[in-house]
């Protein structure tokens, strides 16, 4: 469609406003993390990196980051295994209930986090606690994995649909066993989709707070929980600022990599 210069400029302006809306708050947080002032003040009074340093050596922050990394790795590992198995079953086979179950896999992100959280919470209380498994890091991993499966499933299923079945059949015709086909044909074809799914599900888990707050045991504090608990404490504000600034910078890396790995067509969440 061809537009007049004015129409193009108008669309450009609208897009510009939307992009400014998207990035302005993030830039404000980043700038604010270098603010000299101990209490919140805008505009910043001067430049300092002392809060970044304090955040880096803060024991609470370090423990929380470690907990988040453990939870993220555990959830991602489970999601990779179950998500890729499920995507093969959905894409390569026809079976009764396939449609219904492909909807079920989306439910953990389609329904609000609080519903997933509360459902898992009451299930753990009624089923796991009588078995002697109490709330802790393990229950957090269980909760996170539930919604991370979708991310892996989406990535791998899309890749499987694109690559088709013929390469696997050729491999079997040439005498390869199921394991060899899996290892030398199927796996290389979906490898980058697996990496993208893993990165995104780690990022998702690393940022999760709702399901976490319903499934974490006492003494377990992930980074988002640490931020939330310190958000309303004025004397912690400079360190929260620095942590928030660091998270903005850090998150660009895995997302950029994942975007590069998945297809340029994008569009799928």
């Amino acid at each position: 469609m061809t537009f007049s210069r004015r129409a193009k400029a108008l669309f450009g302006l609208g897009a510009g406003i939307a992009l400014a809306f998207i990035y302005a708050p993030l830039i404000v947080v980043l700038v604010n993390s270098f603010n000299v002032s101990k209490v919140f003040s805008w505009p910043p009074r001067g430049f300092t990196t002392v809060w970044w340093h304090k955040a880096l050596v803060n024991q609470g922050v370090r423990t929380a980051v470690l907990t988040s990394v453990k939870a993220g790795l555990g959830a991602t590992a489970i999601a990779l295994l179950l998500g890729s198995m499920f995507s093969v079953a959905v894409v390569r086979y026809r079976w009764f209930g396939r449609e219904a179950l492909s909807l079920v896999v989306i439910l953990p992100i389609a329904l609000p986090g609080i519903v997933t959280g509360i459902a898992l919470n009451s299930a753990f209380r009624t089923v796991l606690q009588p078995l002697g498994i109490s709330f802790g890091l393990f229950t957090v991993v269980l909760g996170h994995a539930t919604f991370c499966i979708v991310v892996v499933f989406n990535n791998v299923a899309a890749r499987l649909r694109r690559t088709g079945q013929s390469l696997q059949e050729a491999s079997m015709d040439l005498g390869a066993t199921t394991w060899q086909t899996l290892r030398f044909v199927t796996f290389p074809a979906v490898r980058s989709a697996l990496v993208a799914g893993a990165l995104l599900s780690f990022a998702l888990s690393f940022d999760e707070i709702v399901v976490t707050s319903f499934t974490a045991g006492p003494g377990i504090q992930t980074l988002p929980q640490w931020i939330f608990n310190n958000l309303f404490r004025p004397n912690q504000a400079p360190i929260v600022n620095a942590v928030a600034g660091a998270l903005i910078v850090l998150f660009i890396i895995p997302v950029y990599l994942a975007q590069r790995l998945s297809e340029p067509a994008g569009g799928r969440i």
């Binding site: 537009f3 007049s4 805008w42 989306i106 609000p112 609080i114 519903v115 998150f251 660009i252 067509a265």
Partner: protein, 300 residues
Amino acid sequence: MTETSTGGKGAPATRRLSAFLYRHDRLRLAGLLTPPILWLVVLYIGSLGVMLVSSLWGVDSFTGSLVKKVSWSNYHTLFTEPVYRTVALRTLGIAISVTLIDLVLALPLAFFISKVVQGRRWRYALLIMVTMPLWASYLVKGYAWRIMFDKGGVIDWMFAPLGLHGPGLGLTATVVALAYLWLPYMVLPIYAGLERLPESLLEASADLGASPLRTLRSVVFPLLVPSVVAGSIFTFSLTLGDYIMVKIVGGTTQMFANIVYDNVGVAGNLPFAAAAAVFPIVVILGYLLAVRRSGALENL
């Protein structure tokens, strides 16, 4: 590829198993399906079931312990107490406002990326710019809007030369922050919808004498409806379930999910919280059923 392919000692067994699995396709399928189904159906759907059942239970008002006796009293309270209706309506209002704001921002943005920008590289770069903040920390984004709206914050500072001040923390801040959080969820389906729109339709419309504006109104927008509905599923569902953002930027404002959360934590009334959690589920499932015919679900 070592001994297995050349026929070493272990080969026949592996090969036989492999061939067996190849011939017994269903067995392979069963092996693939069992673990994820166990997880999704037993753990997740089972948990939802336990929650639904527990919403019919009660809590002993003296000891605070669970009373596993079935009654509708939780639902009765939810329906008859006016405060819950007020909060539910407010939450729906916020969800609708958030959806509309996102729509107004997303349409020009998606259209600009898909139809105005020339060249694949630029288009892709812009798309990444839109999606990147989607993955930035939820809490950091909430915190950002707290800094924006707080007393003496960025918005007050921007309005100061005009002699005005911002609305402060409260309902407005909540709507803006939520619209901000869910904007990429609206942009992406609309962009995908625009990409699927065949160029020939737009050319045909122009050839038949329609102005670009007329083409937008009569050709592009009607075809975008499923994408917009798909986006609104996210903005709606995410807003209905949110209780954290309103705590960060909402001042004393309460949303429906706060009722759920407070009943788990502060009040310790898990059955009542479970009953309250049914409200967003019902609204979202109802919405999903209502829009199923529009073809929006294929656009998710």
